[in-house]
Symmetry: C2
Subunit: 134 residues, 2 copies
DNA sequence: TTGACACCAGGAATGGTTCCTATTAATTTG
DNA sequence: CAAATTAATAGGAACCATTCCTGGTGTCAA
């Protein structure tokens, strides 16, 4: 039933995924672009965006979108959560093991057919805490 | 210690807050602009944005930001959560009473000083479910 | 009065992301 | 392999919600 769209295995897509998975950080498209360019100097930023989107569609990577801040990408698709620094945008992993409960996901809420949820913590990262204290 | 900034009680700010609080919906700045213009025809969209920001800073209203979608505002600052329709952007309230647990908020995670968290559900609203089924 | 300044309307600028178009190249078919 | 098909690319323009800028206005206090 679900027609799987043909994906070509381009060098650009391959390198983008490789470099993302090497990182423990959660880079923006622009940051990843800078890294990928070392191996593919002629790649365009649009290609990075398009492939990150495609990889996300296919469930190969995670995409985290924020208002007013650049989206960030995660090569680790294990179930985990994040803390985001409201000062510099840095993101760190929080694995469910680290604390007790995970939120319930009801099938229906207020008449909505619930397809997912998003839980994210925000705060100040160690570096920014030091920096802000002069 | 915390220097409270002087706020002037302008008609624009008053009307924006009044109209927002009358609504059970969670309007965008543009939607609220259209409503407020009926009472203040010469108000500018920039003024609506500025005042919504100010009111949010002062904790008088809630602001919900989404990537790729307009921010929405909430005159109800009681603790509650939201379901957002991924098709039309509509938002409905979910009060903690409606279901069991609320997420824990640790004071520190991964070295971050945690200042808050965000939990939001997304799905398909009743209207869009009907519409999508032809 | 006069100064200080929060605030306004109008409009330009911003910037991350998406879209457009001609071209390239991965994959399939014969 | 050669040819046909068409997904994907580079480059750059467009998008658009939001913010910023500017000149001006209303208000309060000294
Ligand atoms: Mn992660
Ligand atoms: Mn609400
Ligand atoms: Zn930080
Ligand atoms: Zn809907």
């Amino acid at each position: 039933m679900a027609i799987t769209k043909l994906r070509r295995n381009t060098p650009q897509r391959r390198v983008i995924l490789e470099e993302l998975c090497l990182l423990k950080s959660h880079p923006t498209a622009a940051e990843l672009y800078a890294i990928v360019r070392k191996r593919l100097p002629r790649i365009s930023l649009g290609t990075v965006y398009r492939n990150l989107e495609v990889l996300h569609e296919d469930g190969v990577i995670d995409k985290m979108e924020f208002a007013g801040a650049e989206s960030r990408f995660d090569g680790n698709t294990e179930l985990h959560y994040h803390v985001r620094c409201t000062e510099c945008g840095r993101i760190e992993d929080i694995f469910p093991l680290d604390w007790e409960q995970t939120p319930a996901q009801p099938a229906e809420l207020a008449g909505f057919q619930v397809t997912g949820y998003r839980l994210e913590y925000f705060g100040i990262c160690p570096d920014c805490r030091i920096r802000l204290a002069h």
